[in-house]
């Protein structure tokens, strides 16, 4: 799939601070963009249910991820423990990108 854009938002957590990032894949270093696309392919992102938020534990993060291609856009909301294992690496990477880009 031709992923063009990934929007990521993290809310909640002990501090209750929101972090977010809006990534256009063409602006990212090629290697990073490839890793993101691979991770999304591996978990069949477009097939994931939109709502994966169960009764989340206190102070855990809530994530909202939107992936856009030319043909479709799909948004998934998930908690930390309710996210499937194969999604953890993507969450880690998006977290890192959002944190390092927080200033920009």
């Amino acid at each position: 799939m031709q992923v063009e854009r990934i929007k990521f938002e993290r809310t909640g957590g002990f501090a209750g601070m929101r972090i977010a990032t809006d990534l256009k894949l063409e602006d990212l270093p090629e290697e990073q963009a490839e890793t993101l696309v691979e991770l999304l392919d591996d978990m069949d992102f477009s097939e994931l249910p939109e709502q994966m938020l169960d009764e989340s534990g206190p102070d855990q993060f809530t994530y909202t991820i939107t992936v856009e291609t030319q043909k479709w856009a799909h948004t998934v909301v998930t908690g930390e423990s309710s996210a499937p294992e194969k999604m953890q690496e993507l969450l880690q990477l998006l977290n890192r990108l959002a944190r390092t880009r927080r200033k920009h």
Binding site: T11, G12, F14, A15, G57, P58, D59, Q92, T100, K103
Partner: protein
């Protein structure tokens, strides 16, 4: 000295048990004798048996802690690195988790007569070094989990230190456990913000208890020391002045309201549970400062009993206001200073309680005040 005195009013047994466990020898004898007398009077043999069993249990099964190391992974609980009674580790986060859960246990046990999170000696498990660059701490329903902040960033970019650095964060997480066993406040909108506020209240009280600070001396900051020097802020939340903990070009501004008129309607953060908790947080702060002395004693007692016996899963701010007010009346007497302080606390955040006819203050104050005076521990003398 073994004195007897008439107790013509209802003093909650848990207060007496508290005194029986923690008072001086004379106070203990007095409280135990009162407990026995009132139990006999009411024919409550079971109550007496329970009390004896409870004190026995406390004596044999005290605090029991284990600290685990996730070694930057996400598998919980991880590897055991320090058990109850082990000496200090070379790892500061391990020691902070161990000591912090110990002080939290001590506050609940000594002041509120609660043996651990479940009231029944539950082992306190903590995991440190969870994941990499994990700027969070949480209670997963069974244990506490702490990240190291953003240790993976270059020093000049770091915003968060390790989450065990602040004792009130540890008390906060453990209190989520207490709430899970008691009021079971659902983690959404107002009940969720009350859940958060209870964690902040008792988290702050754990720190004040450790530092032996009276209400006016405490900083009432949640997460002091958690933000690095790169951030313009004193902590994550201020119970004294919600909305003022930080104001930073990178982190933004503390979004907490201090009054109902500024209540934030949002779907983020489980309906703003970490945002609107500022309102009940400030109500507690006002109550505690109004009463003076150690905040964990009277204000804390009122809030604890409300959490344990009154609030339910769907309780909202107004319910909490009404219930802390009625609880203060039960514990300290209708129209007592304590009840007036609770009323003022909620009034200052825009919630009205006790609009019915104001009851006449009991002569000489409430039951508990009378008892405490007899025991030589009148709160008024501690201001």
């Amino acid at each position: 000295m073994h004195r007897h005195f008439p107790v013509n009013c209802f003093v909650p047994p848990h207060i007496l048990k508290n005194i029986a466990t923690n008072g001086t020898e004379a106070q203990k004898n007095l409280a135990i004798s009162t407990l026995k007398t009132s139990a006999r009077m009411r024919g409550q043999r079971q109550a007496l048996a329970d009390f004896q069993a409870a004190t026995f249990r406390v004596a044999v099964a005290g605090k029991d802690r284990i600290v685990y190391d996730a070694r930057n992974g996400s598998n919980l609980p991880g590897t055991v690195v320090r058990k109850e009674g082990d000496g200090p580790s070379g790892d500061v986060a391990v020691n902070e988790a161990y000591d912090g859960s110990g002080v939290t246990y001590d506050l609940y046990n000594a002041v509120y007569q609660r043996n651990s999170i479940d009231g029944n000696g539950m082992r306190l498990d903590s995991t440190v070094h969870y994941r990499t660059g994990y700027d969070n701490a949480f209670w997963d329903g069974e244990q506490m989990v702490y990240g190291d902040g953003d240790e993976d960033q270059p020093p000049e970019e770091r915003l968060f230190n390790r989450f065990t650095i602040a004792l009130d964060v540890i008390g906060h997480e453990l209190t989520h456990g207490v709430t899970q066993f008691e009021a079971k406040l659902q983690y959404f909108q107002q009940p969720g913000a009350l859940n958060e506020s209870m964690s902040d209240v008792f988290g702050s009280l754990v720190k004040q208890y450790q530092l032996k600070q009276i209400a006016s001396e405490a900083d009432w900051i949640i997460g002091s020391g958690l933000l690095t020097e790169n951030v313009n802020g004193v902590g994550i939340r201020s119970m004294k002045a919600p909305g003022t903990a930080y104001d930073d070009p990178v982190l933004g501004k503390d979004p907490q309201p201090a009054h109902m008129r500024d209540y934030v309607n949002t779907i983020s953060d489980n309906g703003g549970v970490h945002i609107n908790s500022g309102i009940p947080n400030r109500a507690f702060y006002i109550t505690a400062v109004e009463l003076g002395g150690f905040a964990w004693e009277r204000a804390g007692q009122i809030w604890y009993v409300t959490l344990k016996d009154k609030l339910t899963a769907n309780s909202r701010f107004q319910d909490c206001a009404d219930l802390t007010y009625s609880t203060a009346g039960e514990l300290f007497g209708a129209g007592s200073l304590e009840q007036q302080a609770v009323k003022k606390g909620w009034a200052e955040v825009g919630l009205t309680v006790g609009t019915g006819p104001t009851p006449e203050p009991e002569p000489g104050g409430g039951c508990l005040s009378a008892l405490l005076r007899l025991l030589g521990a009148a709160p008024a003398e501690r201001r």
